[in-house]
C-alpha cells in the first residue's frame, strides 16, 4: 500500500462530483477526512486550495490540492495503484475509450443537456429532453454486452455516469417525466442496478428527500428568474 499521507476531501453533502471521489477512496480503502462545504459561505480552506474555480470537490493530499473530479480520479488511481480496483483499464486503447466516455458525460452533452431539461420549460426544455434521449441512446449502445462502462471492472467512466442512478429518479419525480426506462434502456437499467448493488456506493447516496427538496428549489429559482426577465 502506498504511503497514505494525509488525505482530505472537500465536497458538499449533495455534490455528485464529490461523490465520485468518495467512491474511489472508499473502494480503494483509502482513509480520508471529509469536509462538507457550504458553497454560499466558502471556507478559507476551499478558497486556499481551489483558488481558480473555488469549487468542490478538492482533494488535499499531504497538503497539496488537486481539483476537477476526473483529474482527481486519475490521480487517486496512479498514486494508490497497488490498491484494487484499477479505475482505468490496463490496455491503452481501452483507457482512451474510458476517458472518452468520461468526457462525454461531463463536458460534451450528457450533463449539460440534463441541466437544460431541468432548468428550463417549454420548447427549451423539450430540446433538452430530446438531447438527453439521444445521449442515452449512445450510452445504451456503448453498454450493451458490457458489465460496466469501464469493461469487466467498475472504472472512471462508470463513476462519471453515476449521477444517472441517483439523480435521474429525483429529476423524474420533480419534472413528472420518465427519462430512463427499462424498455428503451435495458442495458442502462441493468447497469444502474449493478452499480447500486455495490455496498460502498449504496451507502454513500445523499438522502433522497433532501435531494428532492434541494433540486425542486433550484428548478423553481431558474424558472422564476427566466420568467422575470422575459415578463
Amino acid at each position: 500500500m502506498a504511503d497514505q499521507g494525509e488525505v482530505k476531501l472537500l465536497k458538499t453533502w449533495s455534490s455528485l462530483f464529490g461523490l465520485r471521489v468518495v467512491w474511489a477512496l472508499k473502494l480503494k480503502g483509502i482513509p480520508y477526512e471529509s469536509v462538507d462545504e457550504d458553497l454560499t459561505n466558502k471556507s478559507d480552506l476551499l478558497l486556499q486550495y481551489n483558488p481558480v474555480h473555488t469549487k468542490v470537490p478538492v482533494l488535499i493530499h499531504n497538503g497539496k490540492s488537486i481539483c476537477e473530479s476526473l483529474v482527481i480520479l486519475e490521480y487517486i488511481d496512479e498514486t494508490w495503484s497497488q490498491n484494487p480496483p484499477r479505475l482505468l483499464p490496463r490496455d491503452p486503447i481501452q483507457r482512451a475509450s474510458a476517458r472518452f466516455w468520461a468526457k462525454f458525460m461531463d463536458e460534451k452533452q450528457a450533463l449539460p443537456s440534463m441541466w437544460q431539461a431541468f432548468t428550463k420549460e417549454g420548447r427549451e426544455q423539450e430540446e433538452g429532453v430530446a438531447s438527453i434521449a439521444e445521449n442515452l441512446k449512445l450510452l445504451e449502445a456503448e453498454l450493451e454486452g458490457k458489465k460496466f462502462l469501464g469493461g469487466e471492472e467498475i472504472g472512471i467512466p462508470d463513476f462519471a455516469l453515476g449521477w444517472l442512478v441517483n439523480l435521474v429518479p429525483v429529476f423524474e419525480e420533480i419534472l413528472g417525466l420518465k427519462i430512463v426506462d427499462e424498455e428503451r434502456h435495458p442495458s442502462l437499467s441493468e447497469w444502474s442496478r449493478r452499480i447500486s448493488d455495490i455496498p460502498v456506493i449504496e451507502e454513500s447516496w445523499p438522502p433522497r428527500d433532501k435531494l428532492v427538496t434541494k433540486w425542486a428549489a433550484i428548478r423553481d429559482h431558474f424558472l422564476a428568474t427566466a420568467r422575470a426577465s422575459s415578463g
Binding site: 481558480v52 493530499h61 497539496k64 488537486i66 481539483c67 476537477e68 476526473l70 483529474v71 482527481i72 486519475e74 490521480y75 496512479e78 498514486t79 491503452p92 486503447i93 483507457r95 482512451a96 475509450s97 476517458r99 472518452f100 468526457k103 462525454f104 463536458e107 460534451k108 449512445l138
Partner: protein
Amino acid sequence: MEEVKLLGWWVSPFSRRVELALKLKGVGYEYIEQDLAHKSQLLLEYNPVHKKVPVLVHNGKTMAESLVILEYIDETWPNNPILPRNPYDKAMARFWAQFIEEKEEERGKLVEEASQCFITLEGELKGNKFFGGEEIGMVDIAANFIGYWLGVVQEVSGMELVTRDKFPVLCKWMDEFVEHSVVKETLPPRDELHAEFEARLGAPSWKY
C-alpha cells in the same frame, strides 16, 4: 511496422494538437484531410458519436477527443514525454489542459472573463519558457489555439483580447511557442487561415 493515421482538418487547432504531439515524438503517420462540410464515410464510421476531427487510428483501433488522444500518444510512445511522470504534476497538467478546453468552449462569453482566464494562465507560466517547463508539454499543446489561432481571430474580428502591454508574459510564451521548431511545422499558413476565418466571419466555428 505500426500503422498510424490521423483524420484532421487543416484549420482545426484540435487536430493540429495531435499532429504536434506525434511530430514531437517522431511518430510517422498518414494524414487524411477531412472536409467537414461534407463528412466522409470514414469520419462517420470512426467517430460516430461526435463526427468530428481529430480521430487517431492506430493499428486499426480508433479514438477521438484531442486531449484523450494526447494521453494515448504519451502512453504509447513514451519518448519526449508531454506529461510529467509524477502523479501530482501530471494532475496539475491535466487540470490546466481542461481549464483551457473549458474556456474555449465558452468562447462566446464576456471579454472580462476571457481576460481573467489569460491572467490566470500567465500566473501558471511561473517564469518558465513553456507551461511544460523548459520543454513543450501537454498544456502548451492544449493551449495552441491561444498560441497561434487567437492572433488570426483577433485580426479578422478586430477584437483585441491579448495585447503585449496587457499580457506581456503570455505574449512572450506565444512567441516561443510559434518559434519552436516542431510547432512551426504544424501551423497552418497564416494567410490561408486568415482567409478561412474571414469567409466564416458570420459563424467562426472550427469545431465542426
